[in-house]
């Protein structure tokens, strides 16, 4: 049982059931986790013999392997022998550096639970459309970790970001290396037609910059450019509802003149920011639920990509689905900061 599976079995998980006795598989180097759940003080089965490491090969030296792997990684990075795709996506760096860091937030801080992961296509293109919230776009990052970790095909989510992200030095390169690109139709269509899973948040800054009082109220979906991109490539649309991001930095007020001065879409005032300085950047530990909805096929509508009525109706359908799912999820999670 991995740590992650174990965590999911703890009370507080929305789908909590009493754990079944699992056949233990001792993984070398893992922190000891109760292999057989000792419910009410007795185990159902006697613990089996721990599997002995191969006598011929000798005991596997985990630390030696780790050090060797780490050094090989460093050498590859320093020699430049890794692959970057046309969009600047660096899968090795993403898997080895970005995702492990985000996973700490994902598991331990936000205690994220994912439902309906089977609705995300296992191969071929897909357009994941979500609700946007949380002042900083942490929901996009958590969504990409969720799909990478929970999906059986371990897919990478290619996010579409606002141009502001790509204007700022450093942030632009972090975004590109983690697989994001500018939200524009040519890029979205190129990614989808090459069979990638694309993530988009049509609310944009209207979504993440809204007041705490408006939480879980979907904002306008723009012109529905994401729908026409999906229609043109015949890519299924997977609506996803993310609950939890609204509470991480609750925006109490927005200082518009300061935002204009800094050239950003909003200047948030939260209970901790800017009062506590950099400490205000620590997100509040809300409980996150992510629900993927059944995919909406678009392959039969390829000819209607320029029909504003079809595009608008489909965008509306996606919006309604997300809004309804959000309300369902909120009922599953009565306490925003509960376990």
């Amino acid at each position: 049982m991995s740590q992650h599976e174990y965590r999911d079995m703890l009370p507080g998980h929305a789908d909590f059931t009493l754990p079944k006795p699992a056949t233990p598989a001792r993984v070398n180097g893992r922190r000891p986790i109760p292999e057989v759940p000792q419910m009410n003080g007795h185990a159902d089965e006697p613990p089996p013999e721990p599997t002995k490491p191969d006598e011929q090969a000798g005991p596997i030296d985990v630390w030696d392997q780790r050090v060797a792997a780490g050094l090989a990684f460093l050498r590859r990075r320093l020699a430049g022998t890794y692959a970057v795709d046309d969009f600047g996506f660096d899968p090795e760096l993403t898997d080895a550096v970005f995702h492990p860091l985000l996973r700490v937030l994902y598991h331990d801080w936000f205690r994220t639970e994912v439902f309906g992961i089977e609705h995300v296509p296992a191969d071929g293109g897909g357009l994941v459309v979500g609700n946007h919230s949380g002042t900083l776009a942490l929901d996009a990052l958590m969504l990409s970790v969720a799909i990478r970790d929970q999906h059986p095909a371990e897919r990478h989510l290619r996010l579409l970001g606002a141009d502001l992200v790509f204007r700022v030095p450093f942030m632009s390169e972090l975004a590109r290396k983690s697989g994001a690109t500018v939200a524009c139709n040519p890029d979205a269509e190129r990614l989808m037609s090459s069979g990638q899973l694309v993530g988009v948040f049509p609310e944009g800054f209207k979504g993440i910059g809204k007041r705490f009082a408006d939480r879980y109220k979907l904002q306008r979906f723009g012109r529905g450019g994401f729908v026409s991109a999906a229609l043109r490539t015949g890519t299924p649309i997977v609506p996803v509802a993310i609950v939890g991001a609204e509470e991480i930095y609750p925006i109490l007020a927005d200082i518009k003149p300061l935002a204009r001065l800094l050239g950003v879409p909003y200047f948030p005032v939260t209970p901790t920011f800017p009062w506590l300085g950099p400490l205000g950047l620590v997100p509040l530990p809300s409980k996150w639920l992510i629900q993927f909805c059944p995919p909406i096929p678009t392959a039969h509508l390829t000819d209607h990509a320029d029909d504003p009525m079809v595009v608008y109706n489909l965008a509306d359908q996606v919006r309604e689905t997300i809004q309804a799912t959000l309300l369902e999820l909120l009922e599953k999670r009565p306490d925003p900061f509960g376990l």
């Binding site: 090989a72 320093l78 046309d86 600047g88 030095p169 690109t181 040519p186 890029d187």
Partner: protein
């Protein structure tokens, strides 16, 4: 459509390495009877060997009208497009004169040539400009969002504008515009290759541009094919794949020197005024935004895929190994040494522990 190859080909810009190599290559093709090089400058001695088979006319584009008709030119390959100002040849003023006015006069002459059957123009992917709002990959149909800052990019836009005018007025002449990515290869000498040949490569702080290169030999192959065969239209010519600037610097074994964007421009401007380098705003924009193009149209139409960006760059590194400090071999040796060191230390520690444990009662 494959027609017979043109008998008389005029190549402009033969006093520069690329123009000279194109002319030499066409002259070596038995299907072409006559290759004439048109250039106002005398080719440097290093290129004379290449141009042995090429007739040379020392004249600028103004003389082209008479020359084209006298020669009975059937194809014109316009290579006299320079990407950086050359201090020895009059700097930026002369560069613009040659690029823009030269192209205008040359196309006017080509338009007036009755037997002309083909026009091939060297362009550049700089035609797409540079902006953070741009799509990640440019196709031939992408329009630049704004007039670029770089002088070369602006010249390229003007040149392509003149070619559009030519296509309108002479629809019977198939015009091929080749938008080349920056050239690289063991024999390439451009602003960028000079930059990568130094031990320290200045980069822009917080930016890691995606770069694409085309190998000079592949560029020549594409140029050759567009003269011999008919491929009207505009084509991106680049090696598939992408190298991030930081990755390219590391692969070359060089050390990156990140400078803030303002300082980067200032340092390059200072170097330019001292006559050390010719790095202009074109390179700054390339290093900030990067540029990646789609070559599907080229591969489908020409039936030829240039070697990938990484392969082309490796060829360049192999020829410029002496400036590199962090080579792959040295890194591998360092990795092995560190790993062995750690293993030794751990083994000693384990031995000591075992001996201490053994002594205990």
């Amino acid at each position: 459509m494959v027609t017979s190859p043109p008998r008389v080909v005029v190549v402009t810009g033969v006093s520069r390495p690329l123009g000279a190599r194109v002319a030499a290559r066409l002259a070596a093709d038995p299907r072409i009877e006559r290759v004439v090089g048109l250039d106002p400058h005398e080719p440097p001695p290093a290129l004379q060997a290449d141009l042995a088979e090429v007739e040379l006319i020392r004249a600028d584009a103004r003389a082209a009208v008479g020359a084209f008709i006298d020669l009975g030119a059937e194809a014109v390959v316009h290579m006299a497009v320079s990407s950086a100002p050359d201090a020895q040849r009059g700097g930026r003023q002369a560069m613009k004169e040659q690029n823009v006015i030269g192209t205008m006069q040359l196309l006017a002459a080509a338009q007036a040539t009755p037997h002309l059957r083909k026009l091939v123009v060297r362009s550049s992917t700089a035609a797409y400009g540079a902006s953070f709002r741009d799509p990640a990959v440019f196709t031939e149909d992408t329009e630049p969002r704004a007039v670029p800052r770089g002088s070369f990019a602006r010249d390229i836009l003007d040149i392509e504008g003149y070619v559009r005018g030519f296509r309108r007025r002479r629809p019977d002449v198939p015009a091929t515009v080749l938008r080349f990515a920056p050239f690289i290869g063991s024999a390439a000498h451009t602003t960028l290759t000079r930059l990568f040949a130094q031990p320290f490569v200045p980069t822009v702080f917080g930016r890691d541009a995606r770069l694409q290169f085309v190998h000079v030999d592949d560029a020549l192959e594409v140029l050759h094919r567009s003269v011999i065969e008919d491929h009207p239209g505009t084509f991106n010519v680049a090696g598939a794949g992408v190298l991030a600037l930081s990755q390219a610097v590391r692969r070359a074994g060089r050390v990156a020197l990140p400078l803030p964007e303002g300082t980067f421009s200032a340092v390059l401007g200072m170097a330019r005024s001292l006559g050390i380098g010719q790095i202009g705003l074109d390179q700054v924009d390339l290093f900030v935004h990067g540029r990646v193009v789609d070559t599907t149209r080229l591969v489908n139409e020409f039936g030829f895929a240039p070697r990938t960006t990484a392969e082309a760059f490796d060829d360049f590194i192999a020829a410029h190994a002496n400036g590199s400090s962090l080579t792959a071999a040295r890194l591998e040796a360092a990795e092995k040494a560190i790993l062995d060191g750690i293993r030794r230390v751990r083994a000693t520690a384990a031995d000591e522990k075992a001996s201490v444990g053994g002594d205990a009662p």
